[in-house]
Each structure stands twice: as C-alpha cells, then as structure tokens.
Amino acid sequence: MITMTKPHANQEPGASSKVPARGMIDNVMEQFNSAADHIDLHPNIRKILSITNNEIVVHFPVKMDNGNVEIFTGYRVQHNNALGPYKGGLRYHPTVDIDAARALAMWMTWKTSLAGLPYGGGKGGIQLDPSLYSKSELERITRRFTFALADNIGPEHDIPAPDVNTNSQTMAWIADTYMSTRPPAERTANQHVVTGKPGGSGGLEGRDRATGYGVYLNIKCWMERHNKSLKGQKYIVQGFGNVGYWASHFMEQDGALLVAVQDAYGSIENQDGLKVDDLFNYSQSNKGSIVGFSQGKAIDNKDFFKTNCDICIPAALGNQITADNADSLKATLIAEGANGPTNVDGEKILLEKNIAIIPDILCNSGGVVGSYFEWLQNRNGELWQLNEVMAKLEKKMMDSFDKVFEYAQNEGLDMRTAAYCLAIRRIEKAYIERGIFP
C-alpha cells in the first residue's frame, strides 16, 4: 500500500533516483497499518480497506470566455462506504490526480468513522490552475464537472465539500447544477448533495468556526481529564487562519493566554498575552499578516516552537513538529488543528518526553461534523440556529474525545493510535455484521 516512488527498471538495487521527504500521506498509511496490527484486523477486511471502492475519471469540455473550448480532467475517488455515503472535499489544483485523491479519500474514511458519522470517505477535484480562469469560466467548469460526475455523486451516495481552491460559491454551483438535473418534484430534496454551501443556500450557521471550536473543545476535555483548568494556561498557535483564529478565540474566552503566533509572514510573542480579536482585526487591516502587531515583539521564526507555553496548537500545515524541533518544545500538550503537523519521528520524541498529542483525525474533526449537521439540516428541511449548532457540536466532539481518551487509557496507547484503532474497528464491525455479498 505504501508506494511513493517506483525504482526505475534499470536502477541498481539500493539506488534511489528520488527520495521524497516523508509526507502526511505516508504517515496516514503507516498509522493505518500500525492500528490494523494492534487490533489484529481481519486480513479480509484489511484487503478491503487497503483499496478504494471506486475511482472516477471524467474528461469534459468547457467553452472559455474567448469562445475556445478546453478539455478538463476531473476525479472522484470513493474509498469506502461501509458506514454511509462517501464524504470528502473537491480541490482545484494543477497537481490533483487520482493517486493524490486516493490517500486523502482513505484518510476521510478514518476521520468520519472516528467522529461517529454515518459517512465513508471520498476525495476528488479538477486538475487546473484556477488563477488562469475568470469567475464565469470557473462557474462553467464546475457546472460541467458536476454534470459529468452525474449520479456518481448524490445526497445519499457521495457528498463533496470545499477543499483547496474551492469554497461555498463552488458548492452553490454544484448544488444548483445537480438539482437542475433531477426531476422537478425532486429538486429541492437534493440540496444536501454538497456541504459547505453559503448561508442563504442551505449552509450551516457557525460552519466557519466549527473546526476551531472543535480544537478548543478537545483541549478543554483533555484539561478536565487531567484536573486542570484552561484559565491561565499559555498557548501558541501556528497559522492564524480560520482554525487558528477561532480556536484562539474560544481559548481566550476560557481564560487561556495566547503568547505566540506564527503565520506565513512571521512570528510574534508576548508572554503577558496577545488579545485575540485585536490581533485578528490587525491582521485583517494588514493584508492578512500578523507582523507588526503592537502587542507583540517579533521573534525568530526558527524559535517559534521553542516558545515558553503549556499548549501548542499547530493549525497551519503538515510536517511542522519533526525530529529537528520536537526536543525543544516546551508545551505539555499538542493539539493538532492542522492535518499531519507532527511526523512519525517527531511524535516518537514527544511521546518519550511524555508530551500528549491530540491527533488531527480527532482534534480537527469539528469541520466534518459541521458538514454532517448541514447535511442533516437540509435533509430534514430544517434551519438550525447558531446556539443549537454549537451545542450539538460540543456533544459530538466531547463524545469522540471521551472514546479515544478512554480507549488509549485502557489499552495503554497514545491517542493517535487509539483514534485509528477506534475508527478502523467501527468499520470492521459493520463488515462483520453485514458479511460480504454474495
């Protein structure tokens, strides 16, 4: 299952023309195998989960603004649907292909399973550079892609969501196109073919803060399990985007102190605390950059993870905590708001130092739970209010945390391995109960 580079046919044994750095995808696959070994996963079920159910490739023509026609290639990989419809993002990017979508679809399977949702895992997108197209061209590309996918997506079959370079507008186009292809009387009953829609088109109140709120709740639960309060705890955040900001916002409301932040432009620190909303307003007025914020002093980017703190929230990108810096971390808890911020080597060091990690698959699952609520809301013909959404999210997230924490304690595992074990076991149970057709 793990193949990143194929040796050339004429390559000498042991020689390697390309040795890629370990990526998030390798880590996910290693975790799957490790957890599968730990729970002694039935070999037949391991076979099923090691391969994707369906891989759809569509080539479709779109008329450009200048009258020319371009052919685009779109993908949708459906990894597993033992627990329910496939669920996962659609990304528009030049490097999207079926291979890239495979591992990401598999990761969605574990994530939805762990969150206790009635979903499987999927991923897809279109191979294109969106910067080269006008908005009306992107609309036609999206609509034609939706038409080309036809019944390979559907509200009870495969439910896409926003991902890299796609947003609520993209989802609104997909929903409108898909609904237009249904018989008139069924159109409005198909709004939940996608999630992440704009508020006025069936989107969920509070979807913007769902992931950050989930990160905060996981930290809060961990603290409670260790008889600690968030009040006075110092935390650092890498990435001050949607996840980083909202997680910080809720942490501050509970009395925790934001002492350092890093974004794409630089790093700032103040051990007396940085006011979260002041920093957010500043960055909004400073082209999205936190650099120059008056309440903080600039620090060397290399030293960011060495900052004195109790909690570290990497909420930007993968491979940030590695063998190179894990030893110098001061935090006692890492809450993974981003996907794959701690690599395998870094994690080994952290665990040896008794630093706890709330794994990404659990910690940042608030987003997909929010998507589930949007789907349910549309499916039931309801409109949920913000306080309802937040209360439901809290219940779901705390339930997931408790299960992982208790399983880890009972089995003597770290939380990541425990999370993968639980996710895989839930799918295994479905297969055992149902059997394999025929």
């Binding site: 910067s131 006008s134 491979n319 996907n339």
Partner: protein, 65 residues
C-alpha cells in the same frame, strides 16, 4: 495502492516569502494557502494576448457617422 507526491505550495501567492516551512515539497493543506491571483496571472501570462485582442477589436470597429 499507488500514491503520488502532491504539493500545493508552488501555486501559493506566498510561496517565495512564506516562513511557515522550508520544506515546500509535501504540503497538501495549509491555513495560509492563497492561490496566486487572477491579476498576477494576467500580468505574467495573458497581457500580450489581451492587448492583441484590444487592437483587433479597434481595427474591426465600424465607423459610425
């Protein structure tokens, strides 16, 4: 299962200046990712084409009396 490298950094507006990571070869999601803008691509790729189109249009304009 075959899996290829996948990386979003090269198309990011902040690719050259980003301080979040030195390893810009394995990033598949990022909070600070921002696609290079249409404006930038027009400047670097499409400007000559657009200028040509404008000239063609002007040449084809009927003379209104």
């Amino acid at each position: 299962m075959k899996v290829n490298d996948f990386n979003i950094c090269p198309e990011c507006l902040r690719y050259k200046t980003c301080v979040l990571t030195h390893d810009k070869s394995q990033v598949w999601s990022c909070s600070d990712f921002e696609q290079k803008s249409n404006l930038e691509s027009i400047k670097t790729v499409d400007t000559p084409v657009i200028l040509e189109k404008v000239i063609e249009k002007e040449e084809c304009q009927p003379v209104l009396v």
